[in-house]
């Protein structure tokens, strides 16, 4: 089963995924109109800034077993086994934030949402774009990501590619194995800049 896979080393922190996510979870489905909707659609992927000012697209890992699901008081959190997606039923959610205390990644937010009953604040998080996928589309964050920091693929295939890359980088011809020299240069620059700033 295909899943969204995060490749943090390729994230530039452009936050396009956040815009695309908010739009995908709006009523109108277009950025222009979504910006004027009430409630304002909000992203479910959150680009955080790391220690070296690198971006990190933080989204729900759909853990199994899911700590949020075990902590949920009213039993609003469940797993869609067909897509391996942990979902929150906004009708059942009571906005108690027990899931915030349980989520080890900090990816759940609390606000009104176009998909929730009117004027009701609920827990909101990534739903793997389950509605788009029913229409044959891929998750919005992946579709918009221009650097390949987010991909939609079989986890086993992605894992194999990574392992191969690591294996290659250990071989004598290491330079050739640098799949994305631009990114490593950028990240190295960010790191040294942080190092210089903290040394000052």
């Amino acid at each position: 089963m295909k899943e969204v896979i995060v490749h943090p080393e390729r994230c530039l922190g452009c936050m396009q995924c956040m815009l695309a996510c908010a739009t995908a979870h709006s009523k109108s489905q277009t950025l222009f109109s979504a910006a004027g909707e009430t409630p304002l659609p909000k992203p479910r992927v959150h680009v955080g800034v790391g220690t070296f000012e690198e971006g990190f697209p933080n989204r729900c890992r759909h853990c199994n077993p899911a700590p949020c699901m075990m902590a949920c008081l009213p039993g609003a959190i469940y797993r869609d086994t067909a897509t391996n997606t942990v979902l929150i039923d906004p009708g059942i959610c009571i906005n108690c934030a027990s899931c915030a205390m349980a989520c080890p990644y900090g990816v759940i937010r609390y606000h009104e949402d176009p998909a929730a009953p009117l004027n009701k604040v609920v827990a909101v998080k990534c739903d793997n774009c389950i509605e788009r996928r029913q229409k044959g589309m891929i998750p919005a964050c992946v579709e918009v990501c221009k650097t390949g920091a987010l991909t939609f693929e079989e986890p086993a295939a992605a894992m194999k590619r990574k392992t191969d890359e690591v294996a290659q980088s250990l071989s004598s011809d290491a330079e050739a194995a640098l799949k994305a020299p631009g990114f490593s240069l950028l990240n190295r620059t960010k790191k040294s800049r942080t190092a210089i700033n903290t040394a000052r």
Partner: protein
């Protein structure tokens, strides 16, 4: 094999489900005092408040027992247990034998020592039936008195305030939730409640009540008097193990269990509010009477009873509370002993934005925290306490309001494949 589970709260329910999943054949009997399908106990305070409908309370469907082929014996309390002959008896004279027993009887409200407690409209708030009675009588109340500022007293006061009653809270420490939060967070909570009309009296005790059939007022030890038509007693809870023979099963505050939820008696397990288990943050046995622990311990107990060894690392106290527009989250050690040289405490207060963060480290390992508002990232901290991983460099980065998961990964990247 005959499994018997005492208590149909969430610990017992989770254990029952786990047993059935792992052992499709054996007989399971569940004994429960409350005549109601499994429901969400913490939500009774929201029903009182009026924000959640009673229909939302059940956490399992009405045919729960049938579907799982669990034999329910409801509406009666276990009154005797003999772990040697593996027999137990209920208050109404039924007796049962077991091969493996789980005690998941939860906790009972702590009683107070005051005269005329049997007057009408003096309530505890532990179960659905009690809240139902309170709601039925609500229209006739104007003034409520809440005894105790612990989790339950606090939630009762909040619920009644939101119902438009004049509420007086009588607490012994200077601020509510003194077991859960530190003074700074406690004062912030108190300010919010007071600004919404809560009256707070500190220090005194109730010694008796007055009224004909119904309560009309309370007398205080300091000579004071508080008029009230409704009283909620929220002076904390204690584990409900009155039927457990202490000479045969080790009991401290709760029933002592190991990582498999086994008690000191063979084939007897305990889980949830009634159990006392090593606390990861405090590093000693502790009763953590909270919902997520009851769920986790119920699952661990069920798994081990079914014959699969599964060791639970330790429990962790934690709580999240939302009142009006203020959120409070705490976990682990929030009141560290001041003479402990290994403890380091970091705090950050922003009164204007009403933000507060307190982190308690033991050596380099996070042992507890308290936060007021912006609580979304709290789970990362809870996970950090659980993991026991040291935070060697720059601990203060965990205090920053824009703290996020990416900040936890100095240099090394998160595993690209989760």
């Amino acid at each position: 094999m005959h499994y018997v589970v005492i208590g149909n709260g969430v610990a017992g329910t989770t254990a029952g489900e786990t047993l059935r999943r792992l052992d499709p054949q054996s007989a399971i009997t569940m004994l429960g005092d409350e005549n109601f399908p499994p429901y969400c106990r913490p939500m009774i305070s929201m029903v009182l408040e009026g924000t959640v409908s009673e229909k939302a309370l059940p956490i399992r469907s009405a045919d729960f027992y049938d579907t799982l082929r669990i034999h329910p014996v409801l509406g009666t309390r276990v009154s005797q247990l003999d772990p040697e002959s593996k027999n137990l008896a209920t208050a109404d004279g039924q007796s049962f034998s077991y091969d493996k027993l789980l005690i998941a009887s939860g906790s009972d409200p702590r009683a107070i020592d005051a005269e005329n407690q049997n007057l009408d409209n003096i309530f505890y708030m532990r179960n659905y039936a009690q809240v139902r009675q309170m709601i039925n009588a609500l229209p006739s109340f104007k003034n409520a008195l809440v005894l105790g500022g612990g989790l339950v007293g606090f939630k009762a006061a909040y619920g009644l305030l939101r119902r438009g009653l004049q509420v007086t809270m009588l607490i012994s420490s200077g601020y509510p939730l003194s077991m859960q939060v530190d003074e700074t967070a406690g004062q912030m909570i108190l300010e919010v409640l007071k600004s919404r009309g809560l009256l707070v009296r500190v220090g005194s005790q109730v010694i008796g009540f007055e009224g004909g059939d119904r309560v009309r007022g309370a007398f205080l030890a300091d000579g004071g008097h508080i008029p009230c038509e409704l009283v909620v007693i929220g002076k904390g809870v204690f584990p409900a193990h009155g039927f457990v023979p202490r000479d045969k099963i080790k009991v401290d505050a709760g029933i002592l269990v190991n990582g498999c939820m086994e008690t000191s008696a063979a084939d007897v397990y305990a889980a949830g509010d009634v159990a006392e288990f090593i606390d990861i943050a405090r590093k000693r046995p502790w009763v953590n009477a909270i919902w997520p622990e009851a769920v986790a311990q119920g699952e661990v107990a069920g798994t081990n009873m079914a014959g699969r060894r599964f060791v639970y690392k330790g429990s962790l106290s934690r709580n999240v509370i939302r009142i009006f527009d203020t959120d409070v989250m705490t976990a682990g050690l929030v009141h560290p002993p001041s003479d402990d040289m290994e403890i380091q405490v970091l705090t950050e207060t922003d009164r204007r934005r009403r933000l507060y963060r307190k982190l308690v480290f033991r050596k380099d390992v996070l042992a507890g925290f308290a936060m007021v508002n912006r609580i979304e990232q709290g789970g990362i901290l809870t996970a950090l306490i659980r993991s026991g991983l040291p935070v060697e460099k720059d601990k203060s980065r965990l205090l920053a309001p824009d703290f996020n998961f990416a900040r936890l990964m100095p240099g090394s990247r998160a595993c690209p494949i989760h």
